[in-house]
Symmetry: C2
Subunit: 236 residues, 2 copies
């Protein structure tokens, strides 16, 4: 398997390129519109055919590159089953598996940041957590039908139950981290783990909800542009 983490500095978004080296077929998770040319060039140089673009969710902070990549490569655009994206080619179900040669991608429904968010487990070794779980953080829950209680359940029941050594590759990072593990996040993620009274103990669901409800963050700069564009597969 070939695995490449790619970064969009403007939106601090990670895109993931995953490919079967023998088949020479690839998929991208959460491509960014402004990086399509970079990604296309890398695919070409590596001799890879792009088969799928997967979205973890409908993004509010950047426009997806899926629409443009689909025009260029004829790949399929795949989204979570509840995502209201009429132009998608395929909707994945919870626990559904997408296979590309020796690359096995399992969808894990992880709503809360949005109501149709999926994480993707790659070869049971790495989990692409989108905006459900960041390294020592998590996505906000105050728009796009977000719900903090739902996010708490997704992270604690669907992600923290993965094997400790599973590598965590987030949808964003704002401090320069690239990867973590489930063990680390279960022990040190301050959104989910209390430092007092017992370090390492999970926060109560109600405590998490109160914290997330009181974040009072400004809306993402591109939100009014990005959400409608992403509902059109990024065709702007």
């Amino acid at each position: 398997m070939l695995f490449r983490q790619l970064f969009d500095a403007e939106s601090s978004t990670y895109t993931y390129l995953i490919a079967d080296r023998t088949l020479k077929q690839a998929l991208l998770v959460d491509p960014v519109l402004e990086q399509v040319e970079r990604d296309r060039q890398l695919l070409n140089e590596l001799g890879l055919t792009l088969k799928y673009c997967l979205e973890t969710h409908i993004h509010a902070d950047h426009i997806t590159g899926t629409g443009k990549l689909r025009e260029i490569t004829e790949c399929l655009g795949i989204v979570p089953e509840n995502a209201q994206i009429a132009c998608a080619d395929r909707w994945m179900k919870d626990k559904e598996v997408l296979q590309l040669g020796n690359v096995i991608v399992e969808a894990i429904a992880t709503p809360g940041h949005t109501d149709s968010h999926f994480a993707y487990l790659v070869n049971r070794k790495a989990i692409l957590t989108g905006d459900a779980l960041f390294i020592r953080g998590c996505g906000r829950t105050d728009f796009q039908s977000g719900d903090p209680g739902t996010l708490y359940d997704s992270v604690t029941q669907r992600l923290f139950t993965l094997p400790d050594e599973t590598l965590v590759y987030p949808g964003h990072d704002y401090r320069g981290h690239t990867v973590s593990t489930i063990a680390e996040e279960k022990q040190y993620n301050p959104r989910f783990v209390g430092r007092t009274p017992q370090s390492g103990s999970l926060r109560d669901r109600s405590e998490f909800i109160t914290f997330m409800t009181n974040l009072n963050l400004p809306n993402p700069k591109k939100m009014m542009e990005a959400v409608p564009a992403n509902e059109q597969c990024g065709n702007v």
Copy 2:
């Protein structure tokens, strides 16, 4: 082995945390002053003792975190043998090996960006190329005793001669790439490989020198501050 790539967004610098999981001992390559608290927290959370901070060279675009980390952790600051850093604890020689449990770091003299630049080969699998070789690029050669002919020789004779599958982890990236391979850079790095007349053929040394000599880049914003500070191990 534990291997973590860390990013400083302001200077687009990659720092590398490498550790022996059993010994619980770590080294950092090219730490950044503004990220010392992030790095210290990560070391603490992973239960790692910092033994060494290695510099690939005297940086002109950011101030090293080595001095501050040395105060906090009592690690040793290690620099290339020709680097004029009187406060360093140790000067590595070309081909010298630094061992930390099952982590083997081999120094590879790769001058040209500066006159005392080293790359570090980790367990013969990954090469930390500093500013000698970037993903599809290379460091500039127009100050700090840089020399384009010397850089050409370093990259083509010391780096491109490594096994094709060696992972390339650069000191910077400005387009969101995180990793490459020697095979890829030998084939697609536009600074060293001509697209015409024969795609994939190495550029002449003289062609590279002419190109690098005519880049006419502005000086790095922090240069006047960073170089003297780094000659003092980042103690500002």
